[in-house]
Symmetry: C2
Subunit: 123 residues, 2 copies
C-alpha cells in the first residue's frame, strides 16, 4: 500500500541526467524517512545526542559501553537501536577488536535537515 499515490505517470523521454536526479531524490526521501523514524524514538534520540555531544578524550568517537551506561535497557535492545541508527546512515561503527565505537555522521544529518527545509517553499 506504500507508494499508491505516487507522482509517476509520464512514461517517456527522460534524459539520463533526469533519471539520475530522480534516483537521487528518491534516495534522499528514503534517507529522510529513515532519519525521521530514528528520531521518533526517544531512546534513539537521546543516544544520538550523546554520540554527537562534544566531550571527553577522543573527539567524535563514543564507546558503545558509554552509551549503554546511560540507557537503562538490555544489551540486545541497545544493539537493535544502534543498528537502526546505522541503517539510517546517522552513525558509523568503528570496531576495535572487542569494542564498538560510534561516530555521528554530521554530514548526513545536516543533509537531511537541509532536505527537510525545502518543504517550506519561498522561505
Amino acid at each position: 500500500m506504500a507508494g499508491v499515490h505516487d507522482i509517476s505517470s509520464k512514461p517517456s523521454h527522460h534524459g539520463k541526467s533526469e533519471i539520475a536526479v530522480l534516483k537521487r531524490k528518491q534516495l534522499s526521501e528514503n534517507q529522510m524517512h529513515l532519519m525521521a523514524k530514528a528520531l521518533a524514538d526517544p531512546r534513539r534520540y537521546e543516544m544520538l545526542r550523546q554520540i554527537g555531544a562534544k566531550n571527553s578524550a577522543v573527539p567524535s568517537a563514543v564507546p558503545c559501553t558509554d552509551v549503554h551506561d546511560c540507557q537503562p535497557v538490555s544489551a540486545a535492545t541497545l544493539s537493535h537501536h544502534i543498528k537502526q541508527l546505522e541503517m539510517a546512515g546517522l552513525i558509523t561503527i568503528i570496531r576495535q577488536c572487542k569494542f564498538a565505537n560510534l561516530v555521528l555522521q554530521r554530514n548526513i544529518f545536516q543533509a537531511n535537515l537541509d532536505h527537510l527545509e525545502k518543504i517550506l517553499p519561498q522561505t
Copy 2:
C-alpha cells in the same frame, strides 16, 4: 517506562529564569518529538508537503478535501492524521462552517529544525 533516564536530580537553588529556560527546553524537546513522530509516517509527510506547497488561489490555506483527494485513505484516517499534525503544532486548522482549511506553520517547523541542528556541536 518513558523518561526513566531523565536528567532530573539537582533539587535546589534554581533561579526563576533558570526554571523558565528548563521549561522552554523541555517544551521544544517535546515539540521535536511530536514532529519527528509526525514526519516518520510517509502519509503525514506527504500531506505536510502538499499543505506546504505553494500553489493555487489562496496562498497557504489548503482545503481538507484537496488533501483527501490526494490520499487513498478513509476520511476517518485522514482526520486522525490531521489531528496528529495539529497536535505537533505543524499545522493550524481554519474552519469555515462545514469545511476545514489547513495551514502549514512554517515558524514552528523551522524552529524545530533549528533546534535539531544544535545536536551537532561546533558546526
